[in-house]
């Protein structure tokens, strides 16, 4: 089970509180986690990555295990601690005011 922390805007949109958990078939990668997340919460489609290109939206960042994974290829394995549920996969809006 992968633990995912959503930013507040998306928690509101998905009507969830706290962390969410998703089941991934095969290797845990950014792509497989986001596929599973969007399958469970279809309302999130298009908010984290473009629906056509599947590219991460420019102001969305991915962190885990104190690392910035935003620029990693979407199909490489996530850290073992994320894959095993010891650490969450963090989805954030890039820090800004307003």
């Amino acid at each position: 089970m992968i633990r995912v922390v959503l930013p507040p805007h998306l928690r509101n949109l998905a009507r969830v509180t706290g962390e969410v958990e998703v089941e991934v078939q095969g290797k845990a990668t950014q792509q497989s986690v986001l596929d599973a997340l969007e399958a469970r919460y279809p309302v999130l489609r298009g908010t984290i990555r473009d629906q056509t290109t599947q590219q991460r939206r420019a102001l969305v960042r991915f962190f885990a295990c104190e690392q910035d994974l935003s620029l990693d290829p979407p199909d490489i394995p996530l850290p073992d601690d994320v894959a095993t549920g010891r650490e969450p996969f963090l989805i954030l809006g890039a820090m800004a005011g307003g």
Binding site: P8, N12, V43, R45, G46, T47, Q51, R57, L59, G93
Partner: protein, 371 residues
Amino acid sequence: MSGVRVLVGTHKGAFLMTSDAKRKQWDIKGPHFTGWEVYHVKGSPADPNRLYASQNTGWFGQVIQRSNDGGKTWQAMEKKFAYDGEPGNHKWYDGTSRPFEFKRIWHLEPSLTDPDTVYAGAEDAAFFRSTDGGESWHELPALRQHSTAPNWAPGAGGMCLHTIILDPKNEDRIFVAISAAGAFRSDDAGKSWRPINRGLRSEGIPDPNAEVGHCVHRIAMNPSRPNVLFMQKHWDVMRTDDAGDTWTEVSGNLPSDFGFPIDVHPHEPETIYVVPIKSDSEHIPPDGKLRVYRSRTGGNEWEALTNGLPQSNCYVNVLRDAMAVDSLDSPGIYFGTTGGQVYASADAGDSWNPIVRDLPAVLSVEVQTLA
């Protein structure tokens, strides 16, 4: 008992305000979609309980929300807005070409007859339609593919399609306006479009009388006379009596003919309302006085409406989609400001009272007249 529901979009969410026909006591609900910009909320004329809202952030993109119960509950709908075919290019501020790129929905216009059909105006300028209550969206691409589109350029707020008017007497006729391309009309339900900008004059473009390139801020119609339109342009208040074929200036004695919103009295089609703003570089009311101006003569002769509005030290703006009129016998006029005030007049503008003073910056105001 009749009443009204005012639908307010702000920089940080949406608010719904209801009152009986007296429009003195208000019940305010919100914020909905807290933290998101809500560019527009509008109800279906065919089913007042059907509402649509455009919700957006630069971080997480576009969401369309739908309510089937007058705003008590909301459902997020499909959010994929894809241009039909090759996006093509438009002009950037510096005159270079760049591709059309979807950014947000500025305006939602529900069908006059079908609650499940709704039109949407996008930035970068494009015209979308849903026929399933917002569950899917398809571009009607003829507008973006118009031969003049490569020469369209953005206004300061972006290249937005911000005005959609459906002709109540001719279901094939649609008017739209784009900043800063101008006004367009379709006579075949969006299959083809023609620019309707003859008579507009804009000093800020190379050819002041060009076919396109005018920064139209807003167009308004009284449904009883769909061939008569009123326009607040970047500078100049204009009118047409022939569905946009020709325009004439009716700014008359306004203290400034720059502004954003314009609207028409529901029962007196020659009575119109604007909010003059000092200039395009300052975007503040003249002399720090917030004044709505009313013309009862279809333009040219204007009177200031000030009773209940701040007449000193007021420096808010009123954006293009932030004025609305209800259709009660004594009509209500409503507008919202960038300072977060929403003002209402229950006597056609003679006097004003704030419904609320401290919202986030108001982006849009609509009103439903409820039976």
